[in-house]
Amino acid sequence: MNTKGSLGFCVYLLCVVLWIGISAGSAFAHKAVIFAWVEGDTVFTQSKLSGGRKALNSIVVVYDTDGNQLLDGKTDKNGEFSFKIPKRSALKIVLKASMGHLAEWTIPAEEIVADVGDVGHSHMENEANEDSKETSEDSATVKNKTANSIPAHVYLEHQALQQMIDKSLDKKLTPITNMLAKSMDREPGITEILGGIGYILGLVGIALYVASRRRND
């Protein structure tokens, strides 16, 4: 094999490589991604495979911090899966797509405690806790004080207001969470492609350098 031959081949393949690189510049990834967020007492997840495809019928498993499996389910035809928060702890959500693809997302405990508190526990207790933080009094007396001092209708109004605020916040935040979900799935661009090719050229250079030194010695 002569050097001219391999040089021509190199130029040809380089053209192919560049063409593929440029045409795929804005294109796809080959991996699975899962993104999850909390809305009220429900966790929503969105799963995607490479190429922007939704991960359909993929298994989603939810673990707590100790690695105990809490629940599992399958994504629907939009790659989405939602579930009621099963436990007040950080949740590790693992997507098991087919063919050895795996992705995970962790929801920190703080996000969940706040939301479950609104739903599962009486508002009185919450109020009491907040008050106790503010006034740093003994929590038992504060609880009594709160229960006695707030009339029922005021308390109900307060609760309704809270729910309304939560609802409209969720509504306003939905586009933002969707945007975040999209940006989580960053696809390799021209920077990564050219960077990788640069690495390979560098390796070829090093290999040739070593080979030529060996030959001269």
Binding site: S6, I20, A27, R53, G100, L102, I193, R215
Partner: protein, 204 residues
């Protein structure tokens, strides 16, 4: 074709890494200076081929190009694919660092197998149809065996083998056809323009 991190058991990961290292060692033995540029270019081609998606079938699959790499390079496909797969893991987050050995093995071993199975087709005296058949079969076969090996890796970790392998192979059927066509087209071009290149690698 890239298995994510955290899917396989440590034993499978270690076994894959050891076998891949052996393959790389075999490929780096008696390396000729003249082959280095071609190896680099094929490595770059392999690196970006994974961005070419074939949006057919139940899951998205991408080109591998391991058939072309193997047909031309033989055992040298191992270092070439190791470099390509490492960069894919680092820059594209395809696969991962711990699965690098298994992924390299899954893509490079079929390449070497196809090299020995089909290199007869590269002889200058083979007829054009036979040449096209051999190169197409090399691209097609390398992708198929890689799919089976991915299924086997998953099986070793506890997934049922037949469904896993069937799924991987079925998902890659369009890819296999395109791989075969692309490999044949590249080889035909080389045969016409630089036939000495194919024979040069055929000789050993």
């Amino acid at each position: 074709m890239h298995i994510s991190e955290g899917v396989l058991s440590p034993t499978v990961l270690l076994g894959g890494a050891v076998l891949a290292a052996a393959g790389v060692a075999a490929g780096m033995k008696d390396l000729d200076q003249k082959e280095i540029p071609s190896m680099g270019i094929l490595s770059a081609a392999f690196f970006v081929a994974s961005l070419m998606h074939v949006p057919v079938g139940p899951v998205s699959a991408h080109l591998i190009l391991n058939g072309l790499v193997g047909l031309i390079l033989g055992w040298k496909a191992f270092p070439v694919i190791l470099v390509g797969a490492s960069l894919q893991a680092l820059l594209f987050q395809f696969g991962g660092i711990t699965t690098l050995g298994v992924n390299t093995l899954n893509m490079a071993l079929p390449a070497v197998m196809c090299h020995y199975a089909f290199r007869w087709g590269l002889k200058p005296q083979t007829s054009r149809p036979a040449f096209i058949f051999a190169t197409f079969a090399s691209g097609f076969g390398a992708a198929m065996i890689a799919g089976i090996m991915v299924g086997f890796s998953l099986y070793l970790t506890g997934e049922a083998f037949l469904p896993a392998a069937k799924l991987v192979v079925a998902a890659h059927l369009p890819v296999m056809l395109i791989e075969g066509g692309l490999t044949a087209a590249c080889a035909l071009f080389l045969r016409k323009v630089r036939p000495e290149l194919l024979e040069g690698f055929y000789a050993p």
